[in-house]
């Protein structure tokens, strides 16, 4: 009896799960970094403008 190999276009599920989980955690980390940078740049601009006009 021969074993049927997995279809060529379908990685097996545990690997895909791990792949998606890592992708997700990286996306969350990157998202947090971007939000942090937006807040930081806003604060820097606020302080610098305040210093010029204060």
């Amino acid at each position: 009896m021969t074993q049927t190999p997995p279809p060529p276009d379908m990685p097996n599920m545990p690997d895909m799960k791990q792949y998606r989980a890592r992708q997700r955690s990286r996306n969350i980390a990157l998202g947090l970094v971007l939000v942090f940078l937006v807040v930081l740049f806003y604060a820097i601009t606020f302080v610098r403008l305040g210093a010029q006009h204060g």
Partner: protein, 310 residues
């Protein structure tokens, strides 16, 4: 007969975890960089807005992280051959080298640009020099070529308090240069103590660390010489009147203790078959020493501002 089929799952490359990117920045080294940078900023005679101060320290940390990532990218093959470093993301095969290189370049360029735009271009220029100093002059040029790699390369780690000070004041004076010199003089005994107890690792991958090239006796003598030179240098800010007695007395006491830890290392002939206890103690004390010295520098400034000392 069955035709072999390639299963994409077998070749599926998992994305690198963010923790591995974080590990690439050498967080433990970064803690010392952040601390000395922060102390340089706080010890400066000019106060800086907390948001700008935070930005300056963040950029110093990111710049150091970028330089560390480039160092790990360049030395991945060497790291694979050393027990101490074999589990790092690149030698362990958990990360694509190109991703590590791009991450390092991104952090380096980003940190310099943000520092320049938010604080000033003198501080940003110094940060850029420190990154090039570590990633190119030390990692690529000096480390594989000369046993003096640590002596000259020590300059890379000496930049943070200088950058912190310049971020606050906007210019370079004698005091931040002295802080630079103190870390510059501290680095050789700190690293050579480590090199003494991991020298077989360095020898295996052909890095010409002093104990490997010149032998243990020379290294021990050099450790003692640098430790003795560090003593008056660490107290110089007090001697020239840039700090008060709080710093001066603490610097003399801490540096005397440093010499005390260096003496058994320096006077020992060889530790063949020994446990290298004295060398390990000196290495750990050297870290405590630097943290304590810079903490006292800030305490001294605080005491002066509060009027507790003249």
């Amino acid at each position: 007969m069955m035709t072999p089929t390639i299963n994409p799952a077998a070749t599926l490359i998992l994305p690198t975890e963010w923790r591995d990117f974080f590990a690439l920045t050498k967080p433990r080294v970064m803690s010392l960089v952040v601390f000395t940078g922060l102390c340089g900023l706080l010890a400066a005679p000019v106060s800086i807005h907390p948001v700008l101060g935070f930005t300056a320290i963040l950029c110093i940390a990111l710049g150091a992280g970028g330089a560390a990532a480039l160092n790990m990218w360049w030395e991945a093959d060497l790291d694979a051959g050393m027990k101490r470093t074999a589990k790092r993301p690149l030698p362990a095969g958990r990360m694509d080298p190109i991703a590590a290189r791009d991450f390092g370049i991104g952090l380096s360029v980003g940190s310099v640009l943000i520092l320049g735009l938010a604080i000033g271009w003198l501080a940003a220029g110094l940060l850029a020099v420190s990154i090039v100093y570590y990633a190119v002059i030390y990692t690529i040029w000096l480390k594989p070529r000369t046993p003096l790699n640590i002596v000259i390369g020590g300059g890379a780690g000496a930049f943070p308090p200088l950058i912190g000070w310049v971020a606050a004041t906007g210019h370079i004076t004698a005091m931040p240069l002295l802080l630079f010199a103190i870390i510059f003089m501290w680095t050789p005994p700190h690293f050579w103590a480590l090199a003494l107890f991991v020298q077989s690792d360095y020898a295996k991958v052909g890095i010409p660390m002093l104990p490997v090239v010149a032998g243990e006796a020379t290294t021990r003598r050099q450790i003692l010489i640098y430790s003795l030179l560090l003593l008056p240098l660490a107290a110089t800010p007090w001697f020239i009147g840039a700090t008060g007695a709080v710093y001066g007395i603490a610097a003399l006491g801490l540096s005397a203790a440093f010499v005390g830890f260096a003496l058994p290392v320096g006077l020992r002939q060889s530790a063949a078959g020994g446990t290298m206890k004295a060398e390990r103690r000196l290495f750990w004390f050297s870290i405590v020493y630097l943290f304590a010295l810079f903490a006292v520098l800030v305490a001294d400034r605080l005491a002066t501002v509060q009027g507790w000392q003249g």
